[in-house]
């Protein structure tokens, strides 16, 4: 990395994670208070931000250009340097990281937003599948996750009991997260007696449907220390994608996640925030990333307590960074994902100094 500036997360803010937010169908209204608090927290003024980048999806809102109105949440006059990714805002963070590294900006504000309640999320996500051969069958997102969970169970990679333990642990942790949508603890004893939602997935195995938004401020080395007492320095930021052909993939694996983690360097990580909306996917990813048993996974409660689409990966980075910024952890890992069954994966490793 010599010759290019180091980059750190210096601020993180998020909206409440809720089942249905008020406002227009793209949910852009959720961003305004998030921006206000985040800029106040970092002491950065709107006009100082060197680059803005967002992640969202038109299909969630059911309209073209749903990100355009998000520009109104910024107040982009005078004009701003800005870009947008169609996907989780963790990839917007990646684009902003590039801009800081190449010297185009010394600060960046990255944001993501999604109003899943605007449509039928399970069916909307089916439109990510092969449009010629698969999507016309409308395989919904929970059903294909069930196929993946079944593959893992049959292969002996995980069990329904272990899946229930992930759910119970997540919900216990989520009880301490003021932004979480689900904060009621689960009784681990009765979980396996509850009915299937999509065999072998039960309700507790699946993330709730969530509306939400989040934002992160990045800064270059010389600015980071001015904006934050203990920045979360990004030491590895990598992403990869796997084949979209579900029948050609080993669904018990996510090789792109493993490759990204290997490239990012995971040694010494104490906390991992994983964008796994199904309990089985957390078990899959733990193995794929090679996380040690003592790594705390999703201490925020994770996606199983609130899963704002297209902001969710950025929330994971923010939650992990927050543990560094607060001094609770020294080295952390965050994961983000796009597409069906962990097809595309991003790993962000951060540390305090």
């Amino acid at each position: 990395m010599s010759g290019f500036p180091e980059v750190a997360v210096v601020g993180f803010g998020q909206s409440p994670q809720v089942r249905e937010t008020t406002g227009t169908t793209n949910g852009v209204e959720m961003l305004v208070p998030v921006f206000q608090r985040l800029l106040a927290d970092t002491g950065l003024s709107r006009r100082e931000v060197g680059f803005w980048c967002s992640g969202s999806s038109d299909y969630l809102a059911g309209r073209a250009f749903s990100f355009v109105t998000a520009v109104d949440a910024i107040g982009a006059l005078p004009p701003i340097a800005e870009s947008h990714v169609e996907g989780d805002a963790a990839w917007a963070l990646y684009e902003a990281w590039l801009k800081i590294r190449m010297g185009e900006a010394d600060t960046a504000l990255v944001y993501g937003f999604g109003k899943s309640s605007a449509g039928d999320l399970r069916r909307v996500l089916a439109l990510q599948l092969d449009p010629y051969l698969v999507a016309p069958l409308w395989p919904d997102s929970v059903s294909i996750a069930a196929l993946q969970a079944r593959v893992g169970i049959e292969a002996g990679l995980w069990s329904e009991k272990e899946m229930a333990e992930v759910a119970a642990r997540s919900r216990a942790d989520g009880a301490t997260n003021p932004h979480a949508q689900l904060r009621e603890p689960l009784d681990p004893a009765g979980l396996l007696d509850t009915p299937y939602l999509a065999d072998p997935l039960r309700a507790h195995d699946c993330a709730p449907i969530t509306d939400g938004a989040a934002a992160i401020v990045l800064a270059a080395g010389h600015r980071a220390a001015e904006l934050c007492e203990r920045p979360a320095w990004i030491t590895g930021l990598e992403h990869r994608v796997d084949s979209p052909v579900l029948g050609a993939r080993d669904l018990g694996r996510a090789p792109s996640a493993g490759a990204a983690a290997a490239a990012a360097g995971t040694d010494g990580v104490q906390v991992a925030e994983l964008a796994t909306p199904f309990t089985s996917q957390e078990l899959l990813l733990r193995r794929e990333l090679g996380l040690a048993d003592d790594v705390a996974v999703n201490p925020s409660g994770g996606p199983l307590c609130g899963n704002p689409m297209f902001a969710g990966g950025l929330v994971r980075i923010g939650e992990a960074a927050a543990r560094v910024m607060s001094g609770q952890a020294g080295k952390v890992l965050a994961h983000a994902s796009n597409g069906p069954l962990l097809q595309q994966n991003l790993i962000c490793v951060m540390e305090g100094r």
Binding site: G3, V71, S83, W97, M102, L127, Q128, P131
Partner: protein, 393 residues
């Protein structure tokens, strides 16, 4: 901190047309990619990352199609970034792909942008339903026509300027084998007698709806040096820029937006250009409706406000003129929306690489690629040159 040098090593595009029913989206992209890799003489195993751009997903009816295209565009196992910045997206795709090299992350990056408009209906997708906007249902032309009328009123431009642009771009397009429309016999009279669609924009002054894709291979300094040593001229990227402003704001200048003026000023400064009209040899500018040529000539700072139409009227923007604009035929000859910006960027590169064929501008050493989108609010541009930048920023 200096950005690393980056250069275009090769470009490729499809023959643009209204309906490519013989290929899937994957096949369409792959045609452009295969041509770009061949032009760059770069193999799949040498591509470190892929950036895909396209306009709204509703244009094809696939949510985040880059995911399902991952195998076909050679991204599987590699980093894949998806960009979406409205109509400027093709340009933004080039900018983001360049930044992957300029930030020192990768050595060779493939940028690909496409639109397969025949899969859906762009007019419908662009007519945003209530409650987001007024139910005009007139597509992009209906949105931009009032801006054109405002420009004509302010500048005092004569009525035939738009038709002149259409004649020039369509005749240029006839020299470009990849252009959707080939109309070598178009005349001022025929354009002026075509149907009025959105006053003052006539049918022949409007971009077509196209299926098409474009790909650009961007390499680092060592890769570009190696290409040059091998006798293949790279297009050195001398500067990139992106700027955004709101769709609607009190006092906003829709006909000459500040974001475009700011972007151009920043771009010229980055590229070390002080007199763009004298120093830019050829410009590929996003002109989907004829009148946007004089409007953008002013917005980009080639001429003072109110003077753009005079450069057009003088013939200065024709092939062989003082500043040839859109020798490829431009958006008026081909508009695969998501790819149109990257086509402008690629055509600018082709000019300084000397590979523009029958629409080559002689001795083109410095070229502008330009794209805009949304309600004239998103801008992406680059300047490329045949000479390696000697002094880094």
């Amino acid at each position: 901190m200096a950005a690393a040098l980056a250069a275009v090593l090769g470009t490729g595009q499809t023959k643009h047309t209204s309906k490519r029913t013989d290929v899937s989206m994957a096949g369409l992209c792959r045609e452009a990619i295969d041509r770009a890799l061949a032009d760059a003489q770069v193999g799949w195993d040498e591509v470190d990352a892929v950036v895909l751009g396209k306009a709204p997903d509703l244009f094809e009816g696939v949510m985040m199609p880059e995911l399902v295209l991952a195998d076909a565009i050679g991204a599987t196992g590699k980093p894949l970034l998806r960009v979406h910045t409205a109509g400027s997206v093709g340009g933004s795709t080039g900018v983001v792909a360049a930044s992957l090299v300029q930030a020192g992350v990768h050595r060779r990056v493939l940028a690909v942008a496409f639109e397969k408009q025949s899969e859906s209906n762009a007019m419908w997708a662009l007519s945003i339903a209530v409650p987001f906007s007024m139910p005009v249902n007139a597509g992009a032309g209906g949105y931009f026509a009032p801006h054109v009328r405002s420009y004509i009123r302010r500048s005092g431009a004569p009525d035939h300027i738009g038709a002149m642009v259409a004649v020039k771009d369509r005749r240029n397009g006839a020299r470009n084998p990849y252009a959707h429309l080939h109309q070598p016999d178009i005349t001022l009279e025929s354009v002026l007698s075509s149907t009025m669609l959105w006053d003052p924009i006539r049918y022949d002054e409007t971009c077509p709806s196209s299926d098409g894709a474009c790909a650009v291979l961007i390499g680092d300094e060592a890769a570009a040096d190696a290409a040059l040593a091998d006798g293949r001229q790279p297009a050195w990227i001398r500067g990139t820029v992106m700027r955004t402003e709101p769709t609607v704001a009190v006092g906003r200048n829709h006909a000459n937006p500040q974001a475009g003026r700011d972007a151009a000023a920043a771009l010229w400064a980055k590229a070390g250009i002080t007199d763009p009209l004298a120093e830019i040899d050829v410009a590929e500018i996003y002109v989907p409706f004829s009148w946007f040529e004089p409007m953008w000539l002013e917005n980009l700072g080639f001429v003072p406000a109110g003077e753009g139409w005079k450069l057009t009227e003088s013939g200065g923007t024709e092939l062989g003129g003082r500043l040839p604009v859109n020798p490829s035929g431009g958006v008026l000859s081909s508009n695969p929306i998501g790819a149109s910006g990257l086509l402008r960027f690629a055509e600018a590169a082709m000019q300084v690489m000397g590979r523009a064929g029958d629409h080559q501008v002689s001795d083109a050493r410095t070229a502008l690629g330009h794209a805009y989108g949304g309600g004239s609010q998103f801008f992406a541009m680059w300047v490329v040159g045949s000479e390696k930048p000697g002094v880094r920023r």
